[in-house]
């Protein structure tokens, strides 16, 4: 399943770091943190999507405390 969210991320470099880290989470097929559009796209296993999403946000916050995913 692939889903797109609005997100808040404050700098280009942190967006790249957050994206790298989320991509390393098990079950993530692909993750994109688009700094310019402030969009977060997550593609992950259907069955565990919610779980992976929560984990992704948690990991993202450890790298950049200001990382926020809206509408979750």
């Amino acid at each position: 399943m692939k889903k797109k969210f609005e997100c808040e991320i404050d700098c280009a470099n942190c967006a790249a770091l957050v994206q790298d880290a989320i991509n390393k989470i098990e079950g993530v097929q692909s993750a994109k943190v688009n700094f310019l559009m402030q969009k977060f796209t997550l593609e992950a296993e259907d069955a565990r999507f919610e779980e992976i999403l929560t984990e992704a946000i948690r990991i993202g916050k450890t790298i950049e405390p200001d990382f926020k995913v809206l509408g979750v």
Binding site: C11, A12, N13, A16, F35, L36, K39, T62, P65
Partner: protein
């Protein structure tokens, strides 16, 4: 400006005012007790420091706790704390306050360019008026429109989804999609594209696609995702930043420790005089190391390159050119060979029967009747022109027959079984295949269709195509933008192709090519660009997106024309030109070159200033103020430079 940004602004503003006040008090020696005990300034300076930088310090502590310490927050905290220890209170606070001013400016600038991209992408319809079966009208979200719904579109409203006009006539404004300011007329039966604005009158449109598959959604998705396909320059910078920061941080560490260590060893062994401690106290080295840390932040580099490409993509889309990735903008800026299709690209593709030459003993009607029956039901432009010629022919018409089966010989023509006879319509090569002798004149400069029935030659039909007015100008401008060679590939006969080529100033013409032959030619041309195993210059292919997919994907950059409403073209190409104006190609080359130039300027400028300040501060010639400029000032200047692309 967002709420968050406004809050930040007032916070940083208060800190800045406090800081400047303290600076004045300190420099003008206004309060005597502070002059006697300068250490009293420390708590005073800490006030603006924490007002502006408490979040940075917090982030730094969180970073260490989460074992990801290598970020700006850590660098800034160490640098400022270091400066406090070095007794430079004012500079410590300055670093933090100006760092925050820079961050503020950066968020503002990024927000601005984000907004201007969104504004030029302001084609998303907000609502749709659906006419229900009982005649009532309901306003719903475009997302909820179903295929087959009848939509009412009043003057000034946006077309919510792609559809077919059922009633009403109007002039529609396609400027937001194509950059074309002349409105287009629509009438019942015409396709209409979402995102266009109805100019006058009421249109009733039947939805043929849901919102998600409509042109507007496709375009938005493309532009949003374009910044994800990274250019080489961008990848280089991202890789560079990964090395740059640790290298500078470790050099800072070395700068803080090594000289002191050497001096310590030197003095204890007696090799250096003791007075050296006075000349170069350890605190100076600590201060210089802190300066390094301030400069080490890679943000100016990391933000300015993608922002430049984002601006370039935005500038292109405003003119009705969709670029599907930063990388393509970069490639097209170094274009050296442009390969173009003929029909529909250089020419209008509106074929019309020009002349009928029936064989002896065959009437014009008989020739056209046979050809039209064979082509009946085909949508090929040539077939359409033959059918039209029969409908409009100046003779007694019969009911056209419908072929029982047809076989398309790609690049040659059509073999159709009509009633009990076999009809051939196609090129001379098709006739040769069936061993039918046909008449051919030298230097025929139009497309010729030979017709035969059951092995008997019926004659030929000459079909001509018009050259687009803008093609010549476009080719001329491409040359001015640095394209070395324009090559035309066509399935058409040699005389036709060469005449079109001559008229337009095309450098090389390859004619009578089958689709597979076009791919081969492109591959040959790609090989000829290689020198010493490296490709020099790039190749782009322009086509109308129909039957071009293999060539489009084989080229370095595939450009599809007339993409408005054609999913196939939008899918297959790397760059989509929404209308069918060839002049957009030199435009996109020029935008690409400007983008690459601005990106390069930013990289060179940012690196040059950073390296300069690093060198100067290592030798004690630059203070922390210069470092703040090298970090924050450079970022701001790079952003402003990148935003130039979005200016009209």
């Amino acid at each position: 400006m967002s709420e968050k940004l406004k809050k930040e602004r007032s916070r940083v503003g208060i800190a800045l005012a406090l800081f400047l006040g303290l600076m004045i008090i300190e420099k003008m020696k206004l309060i005597s007790i502070l002059n006697e005990h300068p250490i009293y300034f420390l708590p005073l300076y800490l006030l603006p420091y924490f007002i502006s930088g408490y979040d940075v310090v917090r982030e730094c502590i969180l970073g260490i706790k989460n074992r990801r310490p290598f970020d700006e927050a850590l660098l800034m905290t160490i640098a400022t704390v270091g400066a406090f220890f070095a007794g430079e209170f004012a500079e410590a606070v300055a670093v933090m306050v100006f760092y925050q001013v820079g961050e503020l400016f950066q968020s503002y600038a990024v927000g601005q360019s984000r907004a201007s991209i969104k504004e030029l992408m302001n084609i998303v319809p907000e609502y749709a008026n659906v006419e229900r079966a009982d005649g009532s009208v309901e306003t719903i979200d475009p997302d909820e429109v179903e295929i087959g719904d009848i939509l009412l579109i009043k003057a000034g409203e946006k077309v919510p989804v792609d559809g077919i006009v059922r009633s009403g006539e109007s002039m529609i404004n396609t400027a937001a999609l194509t950059g074309e300011s002349v409105p287009r007329s629509v009438f019942p039966g015409e396709n209409i594209i979402s995102g266009c604005i109805n100019g006058e009158g009421l249109l009733r449109v039947e939805a043929t696609k849901c919102f998600e598959d409509s042109t507007v959604s496709k375009i938005l998705e493309l532009v949003e995702e374009a910044s994800e396909k990274k250019s080489k320059t961008e990848n280089f910078i991202t890789r560079f930043a990964r090395f740059y920061t640790p290298i500078v941080v470790f050099s800072a560490l070395a700068l803080a420790i090594l000289p002191t260590l050497i001096m310590f060893v030197g003095v204890t062994t007696g090799a250096l005089p003791k007075e050296i401690w006075q000349a170069h106290p350890p605190i100076t080295w600590l201060y210089r190391a802190c300066t390094f840390l301030v400069v080490s932040c890679p943000c100016a580099l990391v933000i300015s390159v993608p922002l430049s490409f984002f601006g370039g993509i935005g500038a292109a889309s405003r003119e009705g050119i969709l670029v599907k990735g930063s990388n393509y903008l970069e490639l097209i800026s170094k274009l050296s060979v442009l390969v173009t299709d003929k029909t529909g690209t250089l020419t209008k593709g509106n074929f019309a029967v020009e002349r009928l030459c029936p064989a002896e003993g065959v009437s014009e009607e008989e020739l056209l009747f046979a050809a039209a029956s064979a082509e009946n039901g085909s949508t090929h432009p040539i077939a359409k022109s033959i059918l039209l010629a029969y409908q409009e022919g100046d003779f007694v018409r019969r009911e056209l027959l419908i072929p029982k089966e047809t076989e398309n010989r790609s690049g040659k023509g059509l073999i159709a079984k009509v009633e009990d006879s076999q009809i051939l319509v196609g090129s001379g090569r098709l006739m040769e295949e069936f061993r039918i002798s046909y008449s051919e004149e030298e230097a025929e400069s139009a497309t010729v269709c030979h017709v035969a029935r059951d092995g008997a030659y019926l004659g030929k039909i000459t079909i001509a195509d018009e050259i687009k007015e803008s093609s010549r100008e476009a080719i001329l401008k491409m040359k001015m933008e640095g394209v070395k060679e324009v090559v035309m590939l066509t399935g058409d006969s040699k005389p036709v192709a060469e005449e079109v080529g001559r008229a337009l100033g095309v450098d090389r013409v390859y004619s009578e090519l089958l689709p597979a032959g076009k791919v081969e030619k492109v591959e040959e041309l790609l090989k000829s660009l290689e020198k010493n195993g490296k490709q020099e210059g790039y190749l782009a292919f322009v086509g109308d997106g129909i039957n071009d997919a293999p060539v489009l994907s084989r080229s370095d950059v595939g450009i599809a024309m007339g993409g408005m409403g054609s999913d196939a073209a939008i899918e297959a190409a790397d760059i989509v030109i929404m209308d069918d104006d060839l002049v957009k190609i030199p435009r996109v080359i020029s935008i690409g070159r400007r983008t690459v130039r601005i990106a390069t300027e930013n990289i060179v400028f940012a690196l040059a200033i950073k390296i300069l300040v690093l060198l100067l501060s290592a030798f004690g010639l630059a203070n922390m103020w210069a470092a703040v400029f090298a970090d924050v000032g450079v970022t701001v200047i790079c952003i402003v430079n990148a935003m130039r692309l979005l200016k009209r």
